[in-house]
Structure formats: structure tokens, C-alpha cells
Amino acid sequence: MVTVLLAEDDADIRDLVTFKLRQQGYEVRAFEDGLSALASARDEMPDLALLDITMPGMSGLDVCRELRADPATADVPIILLTARAQESDIETGFSVGADDYVVKPFSPRELVSRVQAVLARIQA
């Protein structure tokens, strides 16, 4: 089963994304902060990481940077979740190695399509 690592501090979005991805047959490991997500990724590498940019403590960008810096996790596909007001972060996101981004507010269906597309691209 494909495992998705989710780091999102907003409980509504975390529950929604978890629900939607599980409905599509993915295994989801959800965390409310970046540090726990990073520890989980180092403990057991996910097939894809979905990271919110703005989180207390360690941001999604920091987690992305750390994942890319570690040879063990450098190859994990990463999608960033960002609020519309932080679109300037997208450029930074790509510069630290993200594969794609989804802007909030988002359509759950579109999010699933993005996850599928990134996984397909990486496996190709």
C-alpha cells in the first residue's frame, strides 16, 4: 500500500485530507507538526510527503529541506500545501526541492489528482 506522510496543523484539513486519501486506498500517517512528521519519515520512509508550509515550530519548508538533505529521504516526492496569501513561498518551496504545490483553499478531488500525478511521474 502506498504510504503518504501528512504534516498539517489545521485539524479540519488534516482530517479531510486523511479521509479523502484513505478513501482512495492510501495509507496515511498524519501529524500536526513538522518535527513529528520528519521523525516519522526518518523512522520509516513514506512514498510521498504532503507538507503544510506554515506550521508552528518546524515549517513545511524546513521539513522539505531536511528530507532533501538526508540521502535516505532525499528521493521522497514532496507536495507543499500553501495558503493563497503565501504564494511567494511557492518559489522558495521549489528551490528547496518540492515536486508540486497545492494552494488553499483546495478541492479534495484535485488534491488526490495531484498526489496521483506526482506518484506517477516519480515512478515513470
Binding site: D10, D12, I13, D15, L16, F19, K20, Q23, M45, R65, R68, A69, P71, A72, A74, D75, S95, V96, G97, K104, P105, F106, S107, P108, R109, E110
Partner: protein, 382 residues
């Protein structure tokens, strides 16, 4: 104290007992209120947890499951809906597409949208909270039918209501709201400029014509906000209006914002006016803004002029010129390197600073997925 004025022991006993009774009663009231509040919170949390699963069902895209979830929410009584409503409103701001439409229809089916429209029209000083809440809800719902009543509410005597209405108009996004919103930057019963500016950005390109007209408004704040929004929304058709504001507006603040806006638009037509500003005897702040705008604009043709600006005696002008050269790419970087080697001390210091920052930024960037990482991943999967 004389014997004649002494308080009889019976009266003291009665007073003490009464006080003790009052304290006891107050204690019982406090405990009861706390128990009731905890019970209500517990009940609300339980309902929210249950209803949350129904709301998530709306995201499945499965017609039968969506219909089931909607009927369960529709069957909630008024009190239960009131407890759930904040959760639904919060979710509205976070999603779009089918799920958002389903959530909006929950409000329509329960009559909450209609109730909010009535709330918007409720008069009186003591109903300002109701009006503000109604405006906020209609904005969250993106209710396009409410834009005209919300424009009327921009004239409300309460600042909180006016702010709620301005935010709601931005969320609804009907371009016709641009003029009333701009009007709230001047005269009486104003709305804070940051609230108006954000709402105008949300209106999108449709607001362009009203924004261009506002660049010639008599109030400097209106002109400054209009210029700012034209730049931020990429209104390329307004470039000549912005150039005219840069050249001749009476307010320096408007001219500075016009320089930044021209830089953001990234059009060739903006290069010459920005260079003219730098060369003319304008204020340091305006010249510095123009130097930075040339970098934002990506004006490669301005590289020689920006290189000379590194020698400008005004610190901010030279500093911004260095930043702009870096943003111009290889030609700009070559100019900076040249100045580091051959330029005078002050100019070389500006060039060295931006080149050093750029090299630190480059070092922080990962170098992509290495073969070693790919090998490691394969080994992990074995």
C-alpha cells in the same frame, strides 16, 4: 462606644447567617453554572465529532453517501445546528469545488443564508453584532446576491460592521464592489486601508477600470491604494496610468508606489520612466524605489546604468541597485563581480554584500536527487 449604640446579638446572628447563606447560594450557583457549561461543551464536542464525520462524507463524491450526510445535517434541530455552524463555516474557508458547494447548500437548505440577509438589514446600535455576523457569514458563503446589500452596509455607523462588510465583499468577488470599497478610503465612516486593499485584490481584474479612475482621485490615500492594487494584480493595461502617476502625482507616496507597481508589471514601457526618475533630482526614497523596480521589472537594458548607480552617494539607492543587478541574472552578476574587482570601495561593498547573500542562498538549496539517494531508496525498498 456607649451601651446605647451597641448592636443587639440577635441582629448580628441574623446578618452572619444571611451572609453565610448568600455565600453558600453563590457557591451553589457557581458550581451549577460550571457543571452546566462543561455539560454543554461536552455535548457540543460530541455532536461536532459526530457531525464532522458527516461533513467528511460530503467530500467522498459518492452521490448516495453525500445525500445521506446532507439529510442527517438537515435533520439537526436549531440548537444542534448552532453548535455545528462554526465548524462548517471554518471548513468553508479551506476548501473549494464540490465539497464547498455542498457545504454552502447546507446553509441554503436550513434557511441560514436567508436569515443572514435579514440580519444584515436589522437596524439599531444594539444589533451591530448581528449585522457584522451576518456580513461575515454571507462573505464566507460567497453569496453573490448579497453584494448590493453589503455595499449599503459599508455606510454602517459601526466600524466593526463596515470592516465585516468590506471583507465579505472581497470574498464574494463581484467587481462592482470596487467603487464603493475605494470610497471607504475617504470621507466619513472610513474602513482601514489594509482591509480595503485586500478586498480589492480579491475582486480580481474586473475591478481594473474603477482602479484606473481612482488613480486620479483627489484623496492621496485612494490614489496610493489604487496604484498599489494595479501593480499587485498585474494590470498590464494600466501601465501608462502608472507611468503618469510616477511622473507627476502630487504625493510622493503615490509616486513611490507607482514605481513599485511598474516594476511588478514587468513591462518594457516602464524602463525609461524609471531611469528618468533615478537621474532627475528626486528624493532618495523615490530614486531607491525606482532602482529596486528596475530589478523587479527584469530590465536587462538598464544593467550599465544600475552598475553606475552602485557609486551613488545615497546608500539606499546604491544598495537597491546592487539587489536589482543580482535579480537581472548573469549580466547583472557579471557587473557586480566587475565592481568588486575594479570599483571604488563603497560600490564594491554593496556588490560584495549581495553576491555573498546569493552564494549563501545557493548553498542552502539542495542539489536535487543524487544517484546515491536513488540507490539508497531502492535498497530501502528491497
Amino acid at each position: 462606644m456607649t451601651a446605647g449604640t451597641a448592636i443587639p446579638p440577635g441582629v448580628i446572628r441574623v446578618v452572619v447567617l444571611s451572609l453565610a447563606g448568600c455565600i453558600g447560594l453563590l457557591g451553589i450557583l457557581i458550581v451549577t453554572a460550571r457543571v452546566l457549561r462543561r455539560w454543554r461543551e461536552h455535548r457540543r464536542a460530541a455532536l461536532n465529532a459526530l457531525a464532522r464525520t458527516w461533513l467528511l462524507e460530503l467530500a467522498t463524491g459518492d452521490d448516495a453517501r453525500v445525500a445521506g450526510a446532507r439529510s442527517r445535517v438537515a435533520a439537526l434541530d436549531r440548537r444542534q445546528w448552532k453548535a455545528l455552524e462554526p465548524t462548517v463555516v471554518s471548513l468553508l474557508a479551506k476548501v473549494k469545488g464540490e465539497l464547498r458547494s455542498s457545504l454552502v447548500s447546507l446553509f441554503d437548505e436550513r434557511g441560514t443564508t436567508e436569515h443572514a440577509r435579514h440580519g444584515l438589514a436589522s437596524g439599531g446600535r444594539f444589533r451591530q453584532v448581528r449585522r457584522a455576523r451576518a456580513a461575515a457569514l454571507l462573505g464566507s458563503l460567497g453569496n453573490q446576491d448579497a453584494w448590493a446589500p453589503l455595499c449599503a452596509v459599508l455606510e454602517d455607523r459601526s466600524l466593526a460592521v463596515r470592516i465585516a462588510a468590506a471583507r465579505a465583499l472581497g470574498q464574494i468577488g463581484v467587481a462592482g464592489a470596487a467603487r464603493p470599497l475605494l470610497g471607504k478610503l475617504a470621507g466619513s465612516r472610513r474602513v482601514p486601508s489594509d482591509i480595503v486593499a485586500y478586498a480589492l485584490i480579491q475582486l480580481g481584474p474586473g475591478a481594473g477600470r474603477d482602479l484606473v479612475q481612482a488613480v486620479s482621485h483627489e484623496e492621496p490615500l485612494v490614489r496610493a491604494v489604487a496604484v498599489e492594487i494595479l501593480g499587485r494584480t498585474g494590470a498590464v493595461s494600466a501601465v501608462q496610468t502608472l507611468i503618469a502617476a510616477l511622473r507627476g502625482d502630487r504625493s510622493e507616496e503615490v509616486r513611490i508606489r507607482a514605481a513599485r507597481a511598474i516594476g511588478r508589471l514587468g513591462m518594457l514601457a516602464g524602463v525609461a520612466p524609471l531611469l528618468t526618475i533615478i537621474d532627475a533630482g528626486e528624493s532618495t526614497t523615490l530614486r531607491a524605489a525606482a532602482a529596486a523596480a528596475l530589478g523587479d521589472l527584469g530590465a536587462g537594458a538598464a544593467t550599465p546604468r544600475l552598475e553606475r548607480l552602485l557609486h551613488d552617494p545615497a546608500y539606499h539607492v546604491a544598495h537597491n541597485a546592487a539587489g536589482s543587478l543580482l535579480r537581472l541574472g548573469p549580466a547583472g552578476e557579471a557587473a557586480l563581480t566587475r565592481v568588486v574587482t575594479d570599483g571604488e570601495e563603497q560600490a564594491a561593498a554593496h556588490a560584495m554584500e549581495v553576491l555573498a547573500i546569493a552564494s549563501i542562498e545557493a548553498a542552502r538549496r539542495p542539489r536535487g536527487r543524487t544517484r546515491q539517494a536513488a540507490r539508497h531508496r531502492k535498497e530501502m525498498h528491497r
